[in-house]
């Protein structure tokens, strides 16, 4: 029996006065990979940014279960935790934004150290980085180079590695394959799945490559105009005709019906 790790209930959030998310419910269990798919502008990024406090929440709440402290309110209308507060509170959450996900003027070592910012990084760095380099050998070779000199794929690796440095229990990834060539994207998705399987990290993924990421996930949510239009085990979502047509780019079928 797996236990829930994060719960977001009736989330209403957005920018300024604009509501982008209109009452979404999602949850993530331990050691589970969950993908959120949806058309452009449906609020996928906004939804996960709400979870970590980068977007203003108007209503609803986000709670995270901590081993010792039980369920903690992370985002509520009354008290919204900023991302740095969440990390400083010791809530084991990692987030990789879609753009600007590395510090370009910092070296790779400094980027990795930033992942340990709230800990005593001198004492943790050596041990953690050795583990990280096993999955990302390229980073060890270029440890003293600036991140701005890395290629798109290497940057994505570094972004992921930085988020993994503090050994999070949940990793929130905003389109990790967005700027990658197809073969690199597949490699990246495989890497993410292996993180779940070997390190037991829960993954919340927002992806444009909806079909492929659903195939690799345990469960999925379909977000449309800020509301959850469908949810369920990934396999079920994949087999539902309507979803295939609308969001999974199943063009052959769509054309047949239209024609």
């Amino acid at each position: 029996m797996t236990k829930a790790f994060l719960r977001a209930e009736n989330i209403v959030s957005g920018y300024g006065k604009l509501h982008v998310i209109n009452g979404a419910n999602i949850h993530i269990d331990e050691r589970e990979m969950v993908t959120v798919i949806g058309p452009n502008g449906s609020g996928k990024s906004t939804l996960i940014k709400t979870l970590i406090g980068l977007v203003k929440i108007f209503d609803g709440r986000v709670t995270i279960r901590d081993e010792e402290r039980g369920w903690l309110d992370v985002q509520t209308r009354k008290r919204q935790m900023k991302p740095d507060e969440i990390i400083r509170e010791g809530i084991p959450l990692g987030y990789v934004p879609q753009l600007n996900n590395v510090f370009p003027s910092l070296t790779i070592e400094e980027n990795l150290k930033m992942g340990l910012f709230v800990k005593k990084w001198d004492s943790y760095y050596h041990e953690r980085s050795e583990q990280i380099f096993e999955s990302f050998p390229i980073l060890r070779e270029r440890i003293n180079q600036r991140a701005s000199l890395l290629s798109g794929g290497e940057r994505q690796m570094l972004a992921l590695a930085r988020a993994l440095m503090p050994a999070p229990k949940l990793l929130i990834l905003d389109e990790p394959t967005a700027a990658l060539a197809p073969n690199l994207a597949e490699e990246m998705l495989q890497l993410i799945v292996s993180l779940k399987n070997t390190a037991g990290i829960s993954i919340l993924l927002v992806e444009q490559r909806a079909k492929r990421s659903l195939e690799l996930s345990d469960r999925g949510y379909v977000l449309v105009t800020g509301m959850i239009a469908a949810k369920g085990p990934a396999k079920e979502l994949l087999s539902e005709d309507k979803i295939r047509k609308l969001y999974l780019g199943d063009r052959a079928k769509k054309e047949k019906e239209v024609g």
């Binding site: 900023k82 990390i87 400083r88 510090f103 003027s105 701005s148 000199l149």
Partner: protein
């Protein structure tokens, strides 16, 4: 024809480079973290001079016995300048810039606000302390109106002269001539550069500051309290500028006034832009280039003014009078600035930025 005193010119340029380095580090820091040109920087310089000079007067009044400058010395004044201007820097953030950011005002608004703050402070300084600082002799007979008074022993106006060649038919006279204040400027600027470089590269605070400069959002999700980093940035940037101004003050030959900082603002921006905005190392190289280019122009222009020089030739043969006064050399840094920007649009250290864009 004998050479002009090149060594002396080189020494003067070195001191000027030191001044530029000391006074532009803060401008660069604010730019790299907050992404806008802080025009109030000019007033930080002026304020540093006023603060340190008035502190000197106050200390002379409170400690009339301290003629040996045990407490009433330039280092104490510089620390005072650091604190006062540093606090002023934080005040600007708390009262104006932070609020603007919360209201989602753009960077243009921040720039205009910084011009406004500069104007207000400049005129406030003139209102309260006078355009030229004058002590109240009735209250403090031991006070002095000498603006460059360093309050330091040994006397900073002591001139060190090292003569290498004198009246040589080819090399003319070559000497290094520098007063103790100039030496102090060079030493302070080097110390500042080393200290800042250490902080930026080897301390958690420095790395967090560079991270915040790169991406505020990413720094936040890494656990950095970016508001605090921003406050520290203002304090350090303003403080270092105030301290630099206090160290620079005794080197001035004439009295300073409420416009002194403003007159230096354009060369400051030239240094920052030439170096590549936000680049600490680029800024240092740019300061040296600008200082030496300016001094080289002084040498060349004086050469043109010699009997039989270009000025005379032009006048005699073309009937055209152009004055090559060394005072016009101030424009040269900007000529270099434009040329460099045409070749490297992002300044000397701009290559990293360019790579960032490309990938």
């Amino acid at each position: 024809m004998t050479l002009p005193n090149l060594l002396n010119h080189a020494t003067l340029a070195l001191v000027y480079a030191g001044v530029l380095i000391m006074l532009t580090i803060g401008l660069n820091m604010v730019y790299s973290v907050l992404k806008f040109s802080n025009f109030a920087h000019a007033e930080w310089v002026t304020m540093g001079m006023f603060a340190s000079w008035w502190f000197l007067q106050i200390l002379s009044y409170i400690l009339p016995w301290d003629t040996a400058h045990l407490l009433n010395n330039l280092f104490v004044h510089a620390v005072f300048g650091f604190l006062i201007v540093g606090i002023f820097g934080i005040l600007g953030e708390v009262l104006v810039f932070d609020r603007l950011r919360k209201l989602k005002a753009g960077l243009d608004s921040a720039i205009v606000a910084s011009i406004a703050i500069g104007l207000i402070v400049r005129n406030f300084l003139a209102m309260v302390f006078g355009a030229y600082p004058e002590p109240n002799r009735a209250i403090c007979p031991t006070c002095t109106s000498q603006p460059s008074l360093p309050g330091f022993l040994p006397d900073l106006n002591n001139i060190v002269t090292i003569k290498l060649v004198e009246n040589d038919p080819i090399f003319g006279t070559q000497w290094i001539r520098i007063n103790a204040s100039g030496i102090l400027i060079i030493v302070t600027s080097i110390a500042m550069v080393l200290a800042i470089d250490y902080v930026f590269r080897h301390t958690k605070f420095g790395i967090a500051m560079r991270a915040t400069a790169d991406s505020i959002e990413l720094a936040q999700v890494s656990g950095v309290d970016t508001r605090r980093i921003v406050h520290y940035t203002w304090f350090l940037a303003a403080g270092l500028t105030g301290m630099g101004a206090a160290i620079y003050r005794p080197y001035l030959t004439g009295p300073f006034n409420s416009l002194t900082g403003l007159y230096m603002l354009l060369p400051f921006f030239a240094v920052v832009i030439l170096g590549g905005v936000g680049s600490f190392r680029g800024g240092i190289i740019a300061a040296i280039i600008i200082a030496y280019a300016r001094q080289a122009t002084v040498v060349i222009f004086s050469w043109f003014q010699y009997p039989g020089g270009l000025e005379e030739i032009l006048e005699e043969h073309i009937g055209f009078t152009i004055t090559f006064s060394p005072g016009y050399a101030d424009a040269i840094p900007f000529v270099i600035l434009i040329i460099v920007l045409l070749i490297r649009p992002r300044g000397i250290a701009g290559s990293v930025e360019a790579t960032r864009e490309r990938v």
